[in-house]
Symmetry: C2
Subunit: 340 residues, 2 copies
DNA sequence: ATGAAAGCGCTAACAT
DNA sequence: ATGTTAGCGCTTTCAT
């Protein structure tokens, strides 16, 4: 915005009309004679006029911008979700402000605050932990907000959500292993205190209970570190041994990255997957199809999740009523799981 | 920006001062008595005042926003680059507008145009093909622009760049295979007419020439499809057979995704990597370390590339002079390549 | 040290 | 059908 740019005033002068006439012509206001309208449009083009969206926003009280916060941009799961968001936002004329929180509450609050100052029209939050502080802050912004795979007890009007059914996913994953004849089944989770980790674990426990299979505290390995710098792959690698000592024959992993970590650890230890150990992941990121063996996983439609969330936001912006969505993950059976 | 929000005018009224006093106090103008300043700041906080960045931008002619265009958000390479960008931009107080081009010229032009209307302070373009139209458009915006891994002949002042040395990478990759004793070495490229594909190929040819090794047109397989919907993995899978018929023993692949595709095809065909065929990738995306065998690849510091580009943009915004950067990729020797 | 007033570029209500 | 004017929320001269 450095140098002075062409404004409607400049066009008005050259056309010998008032700036409001130019404004009207450019916006196809019906009151303008089509002749002048075309002339002005022509002129605007010649002069390389580019409307100043900032000035428009100030006047219209609408920025046509939405804010998106994700845990990490480079995480393949969020990357896909953002791609899905952008695919819907762009054709609708909305620009996307992107910010990463790195699971750091302060950074996330700061990001949302920046969205507030920039007067975004709506906010999309994809982070598994939503705190009281968030809800308070978001409530204050009073802008349509859609939560993605995150939850809050707060049922206030401004919160909407699209989420995957983690409990169902955990249940399906575990049932899959049960159907293959496994009875000593472990859960390999992460230590980020996220809701999704908790619910996938619950699904796992539910499945075991319903099948009247034994449960064992040693079969549940949850990293006690909650460090953003430690990737989920590393967590999977480190925690695997714990479950091996507990002699499980099948493991449901929190997500694909953790499962990949477990798989790498197996390769190092010479444990054959799926012959000696079955592994099931969660998410269905592209990567899960490329490792050897390809991961059996509970697939989430990531692009769609982003798209649905964005569409929901669009509807909210048009003041339509929307309904929260809970999507079901589905089992993608591949090479990493097999019968005992 | 729907409802009316607290403005400095509201604060002024409550404080019994003029709105300019409030503005000054909030911006720590030296002329304000520290007493009033504190009072006003206090009051602003109580009233939950959040400055309107739009109004500020209109006045200051600075939006503190930068625009970033990438080919695809979900592509792990670009995802990392964007992460690197955001990491530098956020602490500098700049927000990131993100847009994907999907290798579609029209979409990319539209994205940049949207940045123009929104009066971003700077632009980052990470897309391997920069057309004449781009340069024309970007020149017109007249805003600092840094090109990432893309090139233009245009040496105008507003273009700056950080790029990886693709030719060197191609050369190193091929030399690595040569040093392992391979003499029939193929190149598996993509059909997107990108500069990087071209230059990696040149590096490959250079290495062969310098080693006085035979070159063979059949050893170069470049997909003639240029379809965004077809992933690089698929390209690798499809094109592998062509090189196998040509009886190469080592292949340098355009990037890791292509190499993964080739690897998957090998697995399907029962070809052992690296025993029967050596594979070398490019990029060093996380995935390359997770497949079996892990890919030997030419690693690019993706986070750093994004960070450097962003830092360069920051410098440009402060009107410092900057120098274009060409980074060197380095060989990451792993399991997918071995001696004959 | 503070207030009044202008102006950033636009839209829209109000004239005519 | 077009011009005049006000105003969106802020920063910044220019007065005092």
């Amino acid at each position: 915005m450095n140098k002075r740019r062409i404004s409607i005033e400049d066009i008005a002068q050259r056309a010998g009309v008032s700036h409001s006439t130019v404004s009207r012509a450019l916006r196809d206001n019906a009151l303008i004679s089509s002749k002048v309208r075309e002339e002005i449009k022509q002129l605007a083009q010649e002069m390389n006029y580019v409307p100043n969206a900032i000035a428009q926003s100030l006047q219209n009280k609408r920025t046509n911008t939405i804010g998106v916060v994700v845990t990490s941009i480079a995480d393949p799961f969020f990357a896909e979700v953002v791609e899905g968001i952008e695919k819907i936002a762009r054709p609708a004329g909305l620009s996307v402000l992107l910010s990463a929180s790195h699971r750091n509450l302060q950074q996330e609050i700061a990001a949302i605050n920046s969205f507030h100052r920039r007067r975004v029209d709506g906010i999309l939050v994809a982070d598994s932990r939503i705190s009281k502080e968030h809800t308070k802050q978001l409530t204050q912004i009073a802008v349509p907000t859609v939560l993605i795979n995150s939850q809050t007890e707060d049922q206030s009007e401004i919160f909407h959500s699209v989420a995957i059914d983690d409990r169902l996913g955990g249940k399906l994953a575990t049932e899959h292993l049960i159907s293959l004849g496994h009875t000593a089944i472990g859960y390999l989770g992460v230590g980020d205190r996220s809701r999704s980790n908790q619910q996938r674990l619950e699904g796992y426990q539910m499945a075991l209970a319903e099948a009247s299979l034994p449960q064992n505290a040693d079969w549940i390995a949850i990293s006690d570190e909650d460090d953003t710098r430690i990737s989920n792959v590393t967590t999977g690698q480190k925690m695997l041994s714990k479950l091996l000592t507990a002699e499980v024959t099948g493991i449901f992993c929190y997500n694909d990255m953790v499962a990949v970590g477990a798989l790498l650890a197996c390769q190092k230890l010479g444990i054959l997957v799926p012959r000696s150990l079955s592994l099931v992941g969660f998410d269905g990121i592209a990567l899960s199809g490329y490792v050897t063996p390809a991961l059996t996983t509970l697939s989430q439609p990531m692009l769609e999740i982003g798209g649905i969330a964005m569409q929901m936001l669009l509807d909210l912006l048009e003041e339509k009523t929307v309904e929260n969505r809970v999507l079901s993950p589905f089992l993608l059976q591949r090479g990493s799981s097999a019968a005992l």
